[in-house]
Each structure stands twice: as C-alpha cells, then as structure tokens.
C-alpha cells in the first residue's frame, strides 16, 4: 500500500502543476483578447482573474456593472477561441446576452447606461471540450 502512495503523490503533484501551467497559458489568451482593439481604445482590468476547472458543470458568479461604463468580458479555455460559453443574466434571471448565439465569441463588449447587478455563468461547450481550465477576465473603460 505504501508503495502506491509515492507514485500517487507524485502523479498528483505533476498533474496539478501541469494543469496550472495550462491555466497560465489560458490567462495569457484572455489578456490578449482584453487588449484587442480596432480604434486604439483599451480596457482596464478589474484586477481579478476568474479561474475555474470545469467539467460538465457551470461556474457562476455575481458582479455589478456600473452605469456610464463599457465592459469587456474575455474568456478562454484553450488554444481554440470558442470553447467557452458565457451568459449574462439580470436580477430577474432574464438572459441579457449569451455568446452562444454568436459562435461562442471569445470576447464581447457591453455598454452599460445604468448600473446593473448581474450573474455571469460560464461553461464549456461540451461539443468542443468536455473538461479543463476556463479563465475569464473583465475589463472596463469610461
């Protein structure tokens, strides 16, 4: 039994380290998407990195979009740019946006006229990828 503990621990350490490296690469994809611009305008990061290891479940979190601001949500789960589906819901549960309707676009901008508390759901498009690290970044500009 003891002899199995060493490889199990090693495997776990290597596996976790490897998955973290993957996540790190994905963060870089998101950063690139956050800074993509056609008109020279740039988004300022909200200072956080939203990471989840997803399988067939959704990750969900609440945030507030302040009025008079344009936000960008950037999401990635690997080399291809259409693995992640993100959906924005209002306080009544109405779906305000889902990138699923736009070929899982990896980033999208949101012009917010009045402040809005929202729920953001993130999941993998299981037709393309079943499990893995998903990363989301939020940027804003006034």
């Amino acid at each position: 039994m003891k002899s199995l503990l060493v490889p199990a621990f090693f495997l776990l350490t290597v596996g976790v380290g490897h998955a973290q490296q993957d996540c790190e690469r994905i963060v870089q994809n998101c950063e690139r998407q956050l800074s993509e611009s056609t008109d020279g305008s740039e988004f300022i990061s909200d200072g956080q990195v939203y990471t989840a290891f997803l399988d067939r479940e959704k990750a969900e979190f609440k945030t507030t979009f302040f009025g008079g601001t344009t936000y960008r949500i950037s999401a990635s789960a690997g080399e291809k740019d259409n693995y992640v589906i993100f959906t924005i819901k209002d306080p009544q549960g109405n779906i305000l946006f889902s990138n699923k309707n736009y070929r899982n676009a990896p980033y999208w901008d949101f012009r917010v006229i009045e402040t809005l508390p929202v729920t953001i759901e993130t999941e993998l498009d299981t037709d393309l990828k079943v499990t893995g690290c998903a990363v989301m970044l939020i940027g804003f500009q006034r």
């Binding site: 490889p7 290597v14 305000l96």
Partner: protein, 297 residues
C-alpha cells in the same frame, strides 16, 4: 522475492512523463479525460474549483469622483507612514487593498509626488506578501516612465494587481487575495462617503447604494476564506454594515438589450432606481469609518 525500492518511483516518473507529454492541445480532445479530473473529490478540483467571487474595481469609484469635478482631498488617504505598522499577513493584505485604492485616486488626479510615495507603500507591502513578481522592477520602471499619462498608469497598476491576484489564487493563497479585494472596496466606499458628507452629490449617493450586491460578495468571500477564524471580527462588522445596506431599495425594470454583432457590442437598456436617504447614508458612513479605522490603525 526481493522488492525493488525504486519501482514505485520509476512508475511515477513514467506516468508523470506521459502526463506532461499531453499539452494543452491534447486536453482539447473530449475523449481524453483523466478519471481524476472527473472525480468531484479529486484534489485537482480542490485546487482549481471553489466559488468564484467578483468585486468591482475600486478605481471605478475614483473615476466617478473625478468626473464630478471634485477637488483632490489628500486627507482621505491612509497615511503612507503607517505602512511599517502592518506586520501580519492579514493587516498587510487589507492595507495593500487600501493603499492600492489610494494610489489609483492620487494617480487619476495627477498628484505625482503623492503617487510616488504611495507607490512606495504598495511596493513595500507587495514585497512582504511575496508578490514581487507582479510589482517587479519592470512594472515600477514603466509606471514611473508614464507619469504624465494617468490612463497608462492606471492600466499598469490594474494589470499588476491582476497578476498578483492570479499568483495568489494559483498559490492557494485565496484568503490573502480576498483581503486585498476587501481592503480596496472598503477604501473606495470610505472615499465616497466622506466626499458626499462634505459636498452631497446624487451621483455619489447612488454609487454608494449601488454597492449593495458587492457587499454581499465581500461577506461571502470573507466567510469562504476565513482562515482559522481570522476574519471573524471583520465579517461581523460587514454583516452589521449589511443591515444598513439592506435598507437601500433597488427597483429594477427589464428592457431588451440590443446587440451590434458586427462590432461585438451589446447595449443594456434596463432601468435601476435606487432609493437611499440621509439616515441610511449616515449609518453607512459611520460604520465604514469604524471598519476602516480598525484596519489602518
């Protein structure tokens, strides 16, 4: 039969090598899923999983303050000389959030001398918290080189805080990350309350009321990452603050958004009314001042 003691190690190295040989692309194949990953009790999931929390950037409130043509008020800031008093990780993390907001505020108002002094406080705390990689010499150099462009400075600062957040989350130091976010949030509400007390403004009053959901997230994050009860007192104070925020009435009315597919932009057209009176504002102001005072002193 003689047991080879190297056998398990060789086995592990072989398995580890196989695992490493699958790069990010390999994991894209939906048929190729490690059982360990699918096991909800796997420690792989423990490392990456957990709840996700989002706290809006405190810089956004600083932008609002500046847009209202309010003069810079240096008395709002936590004295940079206090930085040496923070010796525990708990205090260092909370005050890093506070100094980060101070830095953003002074940067936006182009207060160059103050900005550089507060950059020194931020640098000291990040170093003590082991976040040198995010606030390294390249960041400091870029920040100083751009000292005539506050937008670039804010962007550099926000990116550095994001890198620190990423580092802490990957290093299993989410409690520290939570405290930095909490400190930043408290400082931005403190600014809004103090400035509104001096010169009442419907825009600032509204911004204070709009923090209702963020406070819920702050309480959740402090509870989730309450390492050995270290957040107990702060949680109690934040729950008391929530009693005042619960009196803020938010009335939301849905309206269909419209989407410009070509430019990848969606505009929201809902309405959100916020009812907050002077009594509630005073309660919030008094409570936030006590909470902040406990953190900075």
């Amino acid at each position: 039969m003689i047991k080879n003691p190297l056998k398990p190690i060789l086995f592990a190295v072989l398995c580890g090598t196989l695992l490493c040989s699958c790069d990010g692309d390999g994991s894209d194949n939906q048929d190729n899923i490690d059982d360990e990953v699918l096991d909800p009790n796997s420690s792989l999931n423990t490392v990456f999983d957990g709840k996700i929390f989002s706290i809006p950037s405190p810089v956004q409130t600083a932008y609002l303050i500046k847009s209202l043509d309010l003069e810079f008020d240096g008395t709002l800031l936590n004295d940079e000389k206090n930085v040496g008093n923070y010796v525990t990780e708990y205090k260092q993390a909370l005050n890093l959030g506070i100094y980060g907001t101070d830095l953003g505020y002074s940067t936006l108002y182009e207060q160059k001398d103050i900005t550089m002094r507060y950059l020194g406080s931020v640098e000291k705390l990040t170093s003590e918290l082991g976040l040198d990689a995010a606030f390294d010499t390249s960041f400091l150099q870029s920040f100083e080189e751009n000292n005539n462009d506050e937008e670039s400075m804010i962007r550099l600062m926000s990116d550095a805080f994001r890198q620190a957040d990423n580092f802490l989350k990957h290093a299993n130091r989410k409690p520290t990350s939570a405290l930095i976010l909490t400190g930043g949030w408290i400082e931005s509400i403190y600014f809004a309350c103090r400035l509104n007390e001096e010169k009442p403004s419907p825009d600032i009053e509204r911004r204070i009321g709009e923090q209702k959901q963020s406070l819920n997230s702050i309480i959740d994050i402090l509870v989730e990452y309450n390492k050995e009860g270290s957040n107990d007192e702060l949680i109690e104070q934040m729950r008391d603050l929530k009693l005042s925020f619960d009196k803020v009435i938010m009335t939301y009315e849905y309206a269909a958004p419209d989407t410009d597919k070509e430019n990848k932009i969606t505009t929201f057209h809902h309405s959100l009314d916020i009812a907050i009176d002077e009594v509630i504002l005073q309660e919030i102001r008094e409570k936030i001042e006590i909470i902040r005072s406990n953190i900075i002193n």
